[in-house]
Symmetry: C2
Subunit: 217 residues, 2 copies
Amino acid sequence: MSTFEKIYKEIRERICLLDYEPGTSLSEGALAQEFGVSRTPVRRALQRLEFEDLVVISRGSGTIVTTVDLKSLKEVYALRLKLTELIGELSPGRITEEQIQELETLREKCQAMYDEYDPRKLAKLYYRFHEIMLSVIGNRALRQFSDQLYHQTVRVWLQILPDLDWEEEVQMIVDEMGDVIEAVRENDMKRVSQIRRNHMSMLLGRLNDYLGSALIG
Amino acid sequence: MSTFEKIYKEIRERICLLDYEPGTSLSEGALAQEFGVSRTPVRRALQRLEFEDLVVISRGSGTIVTTVDLKSLKEVYALRLKLTELIGELSPGRITEEQIQELETLREKCQAMYDEYDPRKLAKLYYRFHEIMLSVIGNRALRQFSDQLYHQTVRVWLQILPDLDWEEEVQMIVDEMGDVIEAVRENDMKRVSQIRRNHMSMLLGRLNDYLGSALIG
DNA sequence: TATCAACAACATGTATACAAGTTGTATACG
DNA sequence: CGTATACAACTTGTATACATGTTGTTGATA
């Protein structure tokens, strides 16, 4: 992996795990110094993040982490739902035994989260889960779009996670991973996509409930 | 529009209009000299084009225009079909009278193409048509994806256009524009997306016929 | 005190020199 | 003559100095 790509992924993960909260100002110079490189590769990473709508670069003003627009959140999720369905149709799908092993390891680690309240850690486990599920998507464009939409929306869930029921959220993730593992063992990618779509739909419902009550209260 | 953005759009159009055919080697230095700037903004443009899968950048080797993978073409088109459907659902849609005027102007220019065999010119008219249709998509991600998929696939059509029936292709475009104009006049964006989906589906059929016969013959 | 202009301290954008990788060619050698 | 190696002529990647834009502060003035 090239230098800029490592920097890109690192910054992207920081944004998605809320290490950089929305509105945070990112300095090219400071990041360059931290990573021990010049501004050039850092700029390349930030420009790509801007294309993915995770930061906004303004000349003279600076580079700031975007705020997730709540009114368009539903539209983006609707798109994610549709794309998730398509994965089963368009992607032939092939998963290795090693990947299944890691999925089971992830599921066990998530189960251990029932008794350890750590939103960031849970988000990171799900982040890794997403990476594995992404790697089995054969279609390049579909993989890219799915990845991009995930990174645009995952912050919202993590942001309101402290206000949700912890055990319920952990259980939802454990269940999703369990169902997915069962399906991939039978190499039934169509079912995998349906499972993920359904879980995403349920998550969207919880988000709606929260956002509705948040607007009232 | 910033310097790099103008360069980006210019190079992108050249690739899509086959001024740069697949496999063409692009030199940062040469492009910089042509546009009268340094390599820096040119690199930014090329890096974005790489992200959109229109070029491949290899250190030491060079930057070359990608070849459209025929085996995945159907998958990309299937994705385009789905996304085009979604435009009607997710995008509230608003079009100005000026844009409708330009659509009619475009339609008239396309009609004049019956007697003037010029694939590149026809492609450019349709290119502009796409830009207008794109501008009415409210959802940012959907707009970006639709744009990207269009630019990834339009080259294929233009590439085999000389082997297709010229008058039929012109008529298909004139019809699509006519149907779209009729629908946007009633501000019925859902119908617009259906119309475009159907026309895209018919185009896909013609591509399939050609590719099938090309493999045989 | 309120207001506005000048400016200093940032930010990103650009140009350029140099580092490092790739590839084709030419030349020496078996 | 065939082959291997050294190298020259490209390419993109990186570091850095400077240009340019923005913003908050500071101080002079009404």
